[in-house]
Amino acid sequence: MIKRLLIANRGEIAVRIIRACRELGVETVAVFSDADAHAPHVLAADAAVGLGPPPPRKSYLKVDNLIDAARDSGADAVHPGYGFLSERAHFARACEEAGLIFVGPPSSAIERMGSKVGARRLMQEAGVPVVPGEAPEDQGDRALIAAAEHVGFPLLVKPSAGGGGIGMKVVRDLAALAPAIAQARREAQAAFGDGTLYIERLVKRPRHVEVQIFADAHGAAVHLFERECSVQRRHQKIIEESPSPALTPALRARMGEAAVSAARAAGYRNAGTVEFLLESAGDQARFYFLEMNTRLQVEHPVTEMVTGVDLVHAQIRVASGEALPWTQSSLAQRGHAIECRVYAEDPAHGDLPQAGRLLMYREPQGPGIRIDSGVVEGSEVSVHYDPLLAKLIVSAETREAARRRAVEALGRFILLGVRTNIPFLLQLLQHPRFVEGAIDTGFLDREGASARQALSADVPMAALAAAAYRVAPDRPAGRGSANPAADPFMTLAGWRG
């Protein structure tokens, strides 16, 4: 078993990994930038090493400093968390070369799945469905038009290189195709120095459904069912759940098998996620490989809640060389889990990230509620890092019970001093489309604006009264009247009125 683990990350995921280590008897080394010297993850660890100034490129992204920190602190393993260096093959390789166990896949698997084109080819070879498309050798207009007719409309014209939607064009009919090809080629050449184009079928109203997989060093690989992550904007997920309202048992089985095939084809080890686009729902739905995330996901808790496993425990065991603690048949989904990401951002003003001090911070507690957080009351939310403050994860017997539990718990989540998206999350959780489970990746683009408008609703009079009372210089001291039972407001004289 790993003896001492360096966690190359910060925030909630660092805290979550450190707690898992304590439960397993593994010592922990936290790392921190100057801005995080007193952050919860630094306090939670057995030891902590400073990396440098606040900007990530000067601290959390410095591979040499991290390797030195691991060596100097006597760590025998490194957990990258998510974000930062977690999907950089060169970091995994640097760990491997320094003789450190990298809690994740081999660097070769990260590399293999990091190339979009390579990953797509690998998946096709492994029999995993990919979005139908063609990248003709002959990049002349005629050959591209022939490919488009083959793929069928509506379709996407995409640069082979790059990403982030640059140069991507939606084409609905033949007439619009030639101008789109010309423009896409120009933009691709300008942005990536490579005008090679690719024609792909447009998946209509797709859902983003991903499958958690896990493989060990002894040839075993399983999936832990799906997560529905269609509530997202700019590819940033906001609400995730499991099971997906769109999956039938047969479809779930097919997607799970495809994800395990993908993991095997990638030479994968440890926890990973295979992302799919899902078109329509039910047994006849089609799914297409999107990409593989070669690390723990932000939304891994929803899988833990419905399967009853601890993915981080398993990561550490498997990285230590142990066999997978489960077989496919020992795993089952039970109940329903929903995760809401609480971001420091202002939903009423373009989701502007917020910074400042948490004047008041109280997490809700109760049956079926889990909070993974990296802040405490008094924490400074810094401009330098991801605005994710905490994740609220709820589980219950049914989707509707989980949804209502999330609404109640968010309503009790007190977070003052920086604006957060909690009011927006509450709007989304109560949106008729979300209540029905009828969501796709375009849900937020279509419905976000109206949900935002509802945010500017009147502030309740009670909020104004409490603020006035709090600030009034001659407000009564102590805890209310001496004889509370005699207080007419407490005994509800006017209840029925």
Partner: protein, 157 residues
């Protein structure tokens, strides 16, 4: 009885607080009972709401059922709403951010919506645009600089 002016979302409300903990706003009387540790129970005699309040100077952050309000509280009763009297002469950073690019130059004539500079914070680019037509005055920041909210970046004359 203390009289206070509460300002939020561009409107002003006058509240009076008496020594028993009753708060009068418009025609309504609300009873506020502190229940310790920043939590208050507010009742109008028929319904009750738990409210959390944190104050930072004159600014009150209030949380009520997942809704958050930021309220400026001032002693006394103001006659003129402040928001009307403020004229945007200097453009501020909306949050701590790094200046990526300065596009405007002093003396330049701009129209409403022109991007004057670009900030970056938490992986996002934030254009700072002219709120109205005018002439650019002093540029108070440089590319690469980390700026704080409330600090003037560019003057618009």
């Amino acid at each position: 009885m203390t009289t206070l002016t509460l300002r939020l979302d561009g409107r002003e409300v006058v509240a009076r607080v008496d020594v028993s903990g009753q708060v009068f706003i418009d025609d309504q009387a609300l009873m506020v009972t502190p229940s310790g540790d920043g939590l208050y129970l507010v009742s109008d005699g028929t319904r009750r709401w738990p409210v959390a309040v944190a104050a930072s100077g004159d600014t009150c952050w209030v949380s009520i059922g997942g809704q958050v309000a930021v309220i400026e509280v001032e002693s006394g009763r103001r006659r003129t709403p402040r928001r009307k009297s403020v004229r945007a002469d200097a453009l501020m950073a909306p949050m701590p951010a790094t200046v990526v690019k300065v596009l405007a130059e002093p003396g330049q004539t701009v129209v409403e919506g022109d991007t004057l500079l670009v900030l970056e914070a938490m992986k996002m680019e934030l254009p700072v645009r002219a709120p109205r037509a005018g002439v650019v005055g002093a540029i108070r920041c440089t590319a690469g600089e980390l700026v704080q909210p409330g600090i003037a970046l560019v003057d618009l004359e």
